[in-house]
């Protein structure tokens, strides 16, 4: 069992757990936590699946991960801004209950 | 593989440092209230970081690395002091008195 395998398995597990949390969790903030953990899992996955070169992990994969990390934090920051405004307007921190026909 | 004197000293310092970390954690887990825990944790961890840095400096045998480690330790000291202070205030007064909600 190599290190790569260990991280691969962990990443898949965290991804699955994240999916569960994103769908089932009630609080939007918790959904965002789940989403961010899923993101980290995918990034670990990218690096481990891409394999290694003689000079360390695949540099292309590392660059992709860097880009992904920045995109993730940008999206999170925007989502949080939206969440706070939504809370101020409606007092709700959850998306439960459907938007209704009337 | 043999171990030189420097390696031996370095490793010893490192192990000692880890022991301090362990002590800090025990304090965090076992002490009765938040102030005691705070005390134990920050003191022990600072000591631990100092010893770990010293050990690593000896092991690396490089002045550049030693300087960087010193900077990290000093910064860590400041950070820990400020953090501990703020947390203690928080524990005492609840949210910091300077803290207020954003006005709607």
């Amino acid at each position: 069992m190599t290190s790569t395998t260990v991280y691969l398995l962990a990443a898949s597990a965290v991804f699955g757990i994240g999916v569960y949390g994103l769908i089932v969790a009630d609080h939007i903030l918790r959904k965002l936590l789940a989403l961010n953990m899923m993101g980290s899992a995918v990034f670990v996955f990218i690096l481990t699946v891409a394999g290694v070169t003689p000079e360390g992990p695949d540099p292309l994969a590392q660059a992709l991960v860097l880009t992904g990390i920045v995109i993730a934090v940008a999206a999170t920051a925007f989502a949080l801004a939206l969440m706070v405004r939504m809370f101020q307007e409606t007092g709700l921190t959850s998306l439960q209950g459907h938007d209704g026909d009337d | 593989m043999t171990m030189g004197l420097a390696d031996l000293i370095g490793a010893t310092l490192l192990v000692l440092g880890c022991a301090f970390y362990g002590a800090g954690t025990v304090g965090l887990l076992r002490f009765p209230d938040v102030y005691n825990r705070l005390h134990a944790l920050t003191k022990a961890d600072n000591q631990g970081l100092l010893l770990v840095c010293a050990g690593l400096a000896v092991l690396s045998g490089s002045w550049g690395v030693t300087a960087l480690l010193a900077v990290i330790w000093l910064l860590g000291l400041t950070a820990a002091a400020v953090s501990a202070h703020l947390i203690a205030r928080h524990a005492r007064h609840g949210p910091d008195p300077g803290v207020s909600a954003e006005e709607p």
């Binding site: 190599t2 290190s3 991280y7 691969l8 398995l9 898949s12 597990a13 965290v14 991804f15 699955g16 757990i17 569960y20 949390g21 769908i23 089932v24 969790a25 009630d26 609080h27 903030l29 936590l33 789940a34 961010n36 980290s40 690096l47 481990t48 394999g51 290694v52 360390g56 695949d58 540099p59 292309l60 994969a61 590392q62 660059a63 992709l64 860097l66 880009t67 990390i69 920045v70 934090v73 940008a74 999206a75 949080l80 801004a81 706070v84 405004r85 809370f87 101020q88 007092g91 921190t93 959850s94 | 910064l75 400041t78 950070a79 703020l86 300077g98 803290v99 954003e102 006005e103 709607p104």
Partner: protein, 311 residues
């Protein structure tokens, strides 16, 4: 390397355990703390995987900034009276099938990925071969700025959209008083005088070495954000109601510099996004660093602009 594998197993198990806790927990604040720990451990995992560039970014952005952003949002909700404890889940009908699906997903992904075998002439290998022609020493910077500059430029656009979007949903132009730390404490000013300059120093260092060693505009920008966040939290700078020209120019600087240089290659008869030389790399990286730092600080402060306190 048996100890190495032990460390890896330990890290991996902790990651899985923590994520499980965060997802199933009931007390939000506790789970936020666990999430921050998750970020720390991910950074350690990058270090174990031999990716210091990513570890740097994760330390600054993934663990530091994301955690601080989440905490701030939590405080804003709490200040508005939102409860910390989420109500008991009322959806077992949803939870069970989703859990089952997620489990299947995990199994499929985990098992399938075992079968992946690295292609000898993968693009990543080509990057290493072609790197010397770019004049850069860090292959990752090479990919980000030279080989796949378009990705990076569009990523700056993502940041800008996040800022513009946050501005759009900010509501009425009220800067509001931000939560801040009591500055009466002498230690806080000591912190300002030591940590703030050091952040500037480290940011500059990361920016400059980024061409040849781990570091670069993102890491530097994130560190600089740390400085900005510090200033915001200590009330050294205050939110302003309207963004001035300087704020706006800085917010678009990274994207604008990249786009401008990228298009101007056309005038020289080269393909768009071709960089004319090392000066362009430094210029774009500096602009990106400033844009990232300002954008993230504004998003953190939830404001349109920041300025020194007016008395």
């Amino acid at each position: 390397m048996t100890i190495g594998v032990l460390v890896d197993v330990l890290l991996a198990l902790s990651l899985v355990g923590l994520s499980l806790q965060v997802v199933t927990g009931r007390a939000l604040f506790r789970d936020l703390v666990l999430f921050i720990l998750f970020g720390l451990l991910i950074a350690l995992s990058w270090a174990r995987l031999g990716a210091p560039d990513v570890a740097l970014a994760e330390a600054a952005i993934g663990a530091g900034l994301t955690g601080a952003l989440m905490l701030m949002a939590y405080r804003r909700l709490a200040a508005g009276g939102a409860a910390d404890v989420s109500p008991a889940r009322r959806r077992p009908l949803l939870a069970l099938p989703v859990a089952a699906l997620a489990g299947i997903l995990v199994a499929i992904i985990g098992l399938s990925a075992q079968g992946v075998e690295r292609v000898p002439d993968a693009a990543g290998t080509l990057v290493l071969q072609e790197l010397s022609a770019t004049g850069l020493g860090n292959p990752i910077t090479g990919v980000l700025l030279v080989f796949r500059g378009l990705d990076t430029m569009l990523e700056m656009a993502v940041l800008l959209v996040a800022l513009l979007g946050a501005w759009a949903v900010l509501g009425a132009a009220h800067p509001g008083r931000l939560h801040q730390v009591d500055r009466e404490t002498p230690l806080v000013s000591a912190l300002l005088t030591t940590v703030a300059p050091v952040t500037l120093l480290i940011a500059t260092h990361l920016l400059l070495v980024g061409t040849d060693a781990p570091g670069g505009a993102f890491q530097a920008g994130a560190v600089l954000t740390g400085c900005g966040v510090l200033l915001v939290l200590t009330g050294t700078v205050r939110p302003r109601a309207a963004a001035g020209l300087l704020t706006k120019l800085l917010a678009i600087a990274g994207l604008a510099a990249f786009a401008l240089i990228g298009v101007s290659a056309l005038a020289l008869g080269r393909a768009p996004m071709t960089l004319p030389g090392m000066w362009a790399v430094y210029l774009i990286e500096t602009a990106m660093m400033l844009s990232i730092a300002l954008t993230m600080t504004l998003l953190f402060a939830r404001s349109r602009a920041l300025g020194p306190e007016q008395r």
